[in-house]
Amino acid sequence: MSVPEVVMLATGVVGGAAALLVVTSRNVVHSALYLVVALLAVAGVFLVLGAEFVAWAQVLVYVGAVVVLLLFGLMLTRAPIGPTGQGNELGKAMPLAVALAVFAGLVALIVTSYGGEVIALEHVPPAALGEVLYVAWALPFMTLGFLLTLALIGAVVIARREEGEGPLPEPDPDEPEAAEASPPDSSSWPQRQPEPTPDEREVSA
């Protein structure tokens, strides 16, 4: 076994285990932290394969920005310490069966198609990547930039709080007793009541 193979196996095992923990962890924040490990392992695989620039881009974009954004979102919505009840239905047979079937199919396909294939590792300097990126791939690259700008604007538009859309509903001036009768629940973050679902509307009607 050569050095690259050992490194590849090690990163692969670590990354695979971390990925499994991402989807099985009962704590969402832990999931996000395991995702960091999995993505770093992916960067390691890139390094072994000789794609240095892609590896650092993976670290910069995924670990430095995407996971931080995910954690940020998690903490903004709800920052639970300890296991959370939401979305932790483990041991479902169906997803497990589907995932195993996908894995088995993919492995069978890989082994039959690329079983004997050997990669000749070569290091690609970032300069070479830059040359093809800005010459041969210039148009897709610019399109991508345009897409990113659109996504940025779209995200801002979606997440923006509209004028007058405060976290607390405006008290009705006609019914002062109602406002006094129901003091805000101090245990929960002040937020708008969820609208009744159509079923409830039908029942009340």
């Binding site: 695979g16 969402v28 919505t77 239905e89 609208e195």
Partner: protein
């Protein structure tokens, strides 16, 4: 180096992502599973580039593209989750069923 190692690693990441996507109901976890699947795709792209030895470095370039798409997807996805949370006080994707009826 044998080509199967990175490919099997990618397959593992992808199927784990599939499992997470199907079994978990937490919206952010679903996003994470999608990220795992995207990472599997980038690993595949880079591996196939390493096997084929493309002069245009197609695999690496596409891996970068996938990363950019992933970042954009996370941005928009989290914005949507924030909005749902603000309106429904829940991050369970089963609660976001207003358009079903």
């Amino acid at each position: 180096m044998a080509a199967v190692y990175p490919l099997i690693f990618a397959a593992l990441l992808f199927s784990v992502g599939v499992y997470g996507l199907l079994s978990r109901r937490h919206a952010v976890l679903v996003l994470m599973s999608i990220e795992l699947m995207l990472a599997a795709v980038t690993v595949n792209l880079v591996t196939f580039w390493a096997i084929a030895g493309d002069a245009l470095l197609t695999g690496q370039v596409f891996a970068l593209f996938v990363m950019a798409i992933g970042a954009a997807e996370i941005g928009v996805g989290l914005a949507i989750i924030m909005l749902i949370y603000r309106n429904r006080a829940s991050v369970n994707i089963d609660d976001a069923d207003l358009m079903k009826y």
